[in-house]
Amino acid sequence: MSSGEATVPRDRAEIVALAGSWARRNVWTLGLLGLLVVFFAVTRILQPNYGPAAIQGLAIAILPIAFAAVAQAVVVISGGIDLSVGSMMALASVTSAVLMKDQGDLFGVAVVVGVLLLGLVVGAINGALVVVTKVPDIVVTLAMSFVWAGTALLILNTPGGGAAPWLMAIISGPLGTPWLPKAMVVLAVLVAVVWIPLRRSTLGLSLYALGSSPLAAFRSGVAVGPTKIIAYTLTGFFSALGGLALTATGGVGAPVPGSYTLQSVAAIVLGGVSLAGGRGGVLGPIIAVIVLALVRTDLFFAGVDPNWSTAIQGAILIGVVMFGSLVAMRRVRV
């Protein structure tokens, strides 16, 4: 994620200046990166054997929730929220698993494309309902989370179906060096391919503008309604990727949404996306997902009951949000 500079930096000084301005603007993300390093160090100390295999396991485990976090980040940046991310993931997962079971590779590719299109449609329906009914986004997406979860259950009542072998293969194992898990590469490539061009486009700017100040956005010529629908559509798309990741990592379709919605909200808040909209990116939330996963791992290695991790995750979420609003209140007062 660059700051959107179009010109190619010419000399070293300019590169340093650009890096400086990026760093200034992404203090939160850099802090998270620091936190990530600390947690890796802690993990290594607690468990000296923690190596490439464990990292690959971690990368695969976080893949669905990382997509969920990206999905949530997009809509929250544009000033909305989507509580149906987990349900859309479940829907995408079961649809892909049911269709792919015992089918050839080529058909599998078609299924993946189809499921991504499904994600776009489902997200667009969410967005259109928010815009057309004028009902608060929280209510609409909460209600739609029932609808999509129910639809997922109708398609597949219990975990089942199957994943195309190639789909499972592209996320397992390392790429080149044993320290680089394929799952991480897949995540980086897919997010980068969609997000970076988007971030640089006028549409991307419109998403930020809408979240930052709807009135200023309107006065700057942003088409408010359509842009909002596009934001939800993108969230549907990334949720579908999350659902495919669920199928790929589990090998079967998962019809129960789990707590992905909740975790996605926790991750974006921790990842520096403002719930008020307009601020943050997708890199922060992804790092936050890894940090939260490492917290769990470290607690496990430290001999703490794994159940603590849920409580700690919630406490971190509450703590971060309270801290954030405290900072915001101080800023308003000054």
Partner: protein, 522 residues
């Protein structure tokens, strides 16, 4: 207006806009020649802001014709207005707070180099385009907004109070750059309360009053008086509305301890060194043009905002309000202009009036329904509120809504009432009832501070008036002298020599007292 349509860059003819029964614009016309800087003038509520909204695509007119370079203009959004050739710089910058300047330019597809050029011309050449808008001072944002608008070379550039919030050096640059638009084939519509600036840069001025265009003035030395005269209309020539017997009231006030005292009250850069006394039994008027610090003054007095300096005394004792509840406990109750800020629109008249009864922690329990009904009914009777649509306050007329806001405080007994433009946008009958009520409250020993945007009200309701300009008290005027012309000149901070007392007096004698029209848009 000698010009025929084809010579004009922009012509708006007979534009009207109604909101329900409220007439915002009756018949406004505006003709802007190519290469001129044209001032749009009008007192509060004259319809200026509605006309601006129509020209920028925010509002659609009911009728009227708007042509830009001879072609019909109809816009539904600011971006359509821009495509039609009109670009506006609003009082609140239309910049996205969380994006950097460059991204903001990209979002509006504005040329970067041209914007940079204008930024340099306007006095901030070293602006870093990668700065986030949120981190920049307001003055810079207004300059950026202007530079961006200049960069796309619109046919008509509309500047709404462009120089407000700008330091003197930037103001100078802005006026200089605007002046340079003269003689090009583009024009500027300049809206400002500062007559000095109008005189400095504008070629002509169109004056609106009560929703209609009442005159177009060629700006030259000394034309300020003509402009002010047009804004005032008949009233300038009419004698003062007979002031109530203020001498008796003044005498009553003189030997009392002030109910409310401010000493060197300061709020950021908006309000400086404001000191005045408000006595029991008097109605003290506050006169100011829009945005001169009166909002901050009332926010401080009502406990909504804390002052950055100065003292506040109630009955001679220093107070400090952290919450409106503190001000209410000290007897200072607040009636805001915006009824949407005061009322629970979906709740009943009764609940709205009874609201302050239940706010203290001790009153959270069961409500004494009979006692509440007694107090509420009495307040409803005192204010003559029409309760036929009482189940939801939002279904009441504006006047009745405002009465509910006042009744809320009257029901509990008033010691000090702070009224911020309480008659804005309500019908003449209700206005008169409110003046009478304020007089009655004062007669019963209450102190009332009344800010009003309708200057006529000062003589109808007040005992004396203070005038605020640029955050400072610039004049205190006794009610006998507080005719509209005097107040308006003081509000524009025109130099004292232009406030010739004998001139005003002779005008009052010379012209027979005409019936003043029951004014403004209701």
């Amino acid at each position: 207006m000698i010009d025929v349509g084809s010579d004009l860059l922009l012509s708006a003819t007979d534009v009207a806009k109604h909101y329900g029964a409220v007439v915002a614009l009756r018949s406004a016309s505006l003709a802007v020649r190519p290469g001129e800087v044209h001032a749009l003038m009008g007192a509060n509520g004259a319809g200026k802001s509605t006309l601006v909204k129509i020209l920028t695509g925010g509002v659609r007119p009911d009728h009227g014709e708007i042509l830009v370079r001879g072609k019909p203009f109809a816009a539904h959004s600011p971006s359509e207005a821009r495509r039609g050739g009109i670009v506006s710089v609003y009082q609140e910058p239309a910049l996205i707070p969380d994006l950097d300047v460059r991204s903001n330019l990209r979002l509006t597809q504005s040329p970067v180099d041209a914007t940079r050029h204008w930024l340099a011309e306007l006095g901030i050449p070293d602006l870093d385009l990668t700065d986030i808008v949120r981190d920049l001072p307001l003055a810079s944002l207004r300059i950026i907004d202007l530079a961006r608008a200049l960069a796309i070379e619109p046919d008509v550039l509309m500047l709404d109070e462009m120089t407000a919030a700008l330091p003197a050096n930037l103001t100078e640059r802005v006026l200089e750059v605007i002046g340079r638009q003269k003689g090009t084939d583009r024009s500027v519509i300049f809206i400002s309360h500062r007559l000095i600036e109008i005189a400095a840069v504008c070629d002509r001025a169109t004056v609106l009053r009560e929703g209609s265009t009442v005159g177009v003035v060629d700006v030259s030395a000394g034309s300020e008086d003509r402009i002010v005269g047009l804004m005032l209309g008949d009233i300038a020539r009419g004698g003062p509305v007979e002031p109530a017997d203020s001498s008796a009231r003044a005498a009553r006030a003189a030997d009392a301890v002030p109910r409310l005292t401010t000493r060197n009250l300061t709020v950021g850069t908006k309000l400086s060194d404001v000191s005045f006394d408000l006595y029991p039994g008097e109605v003290l008027g506050v006169v100011a043009l829009e945005g001169q610090g009166q909002d901050e003054l009332f926010d401080v007095l009502s406990g909504s905002e804390r002052p950055s300096g100065g003292d506040l005394l109630v009955d001679g004792a220093a107070v400090s309000f952290r919450h409106p509840a503190d001000a209410i406990r000290a007897g200072l109750v607040y009636v805001p202009a915006d009824r949407a800020e005061a009322l629970l629109m979906q709740r009943s008249v009764r609940e709205n009036i009874a609201l302050p009864f239940t706010t203290p922690f001790g009153a959270w329990g069961p409500i004494d329904v009979r006692e509440e009904r007694r107090k509420v009914d009495k307040a409803i009777a005192t204010l003559q509120i029409d309760t036929r649509a009482a189940s939801e306050v939002r279904r009441l007329s504006g006047g009745n809504q405002q009465k509910v806001t006042i009744a809320r405080w009257v029901a509990g007994g008033v010691r000090t009432m702070l009224c911020f433009d309480p008659t804005r946008g309500i019908d003449i009958g209700t206005k008169q009832q409110i003046y009478q009520l304020l007089r009655d409250l004062a007669a019963a020993g209450a102190a009332v501070l009344l800010y009003t945007s309708e200057l006529k009200e000062i003589q109808l309701a007040c005992d004396r008036a203070i005038v605020i300009f640029g955050g400072r008290i610039v004049a205190e005027i006794a009610v006998v002298d507080a005719d509209e012309a005097t107040l308006l000149r003081a509000a524009y901070d025109l130099r004292p020599e232009e406030l010739m007392p004998d001139e005003v007096a002779s005008a009052a004698v010379a012209v027979e007292a005409t019936e003043t029209s029951p004014a403004g848009p209701a």
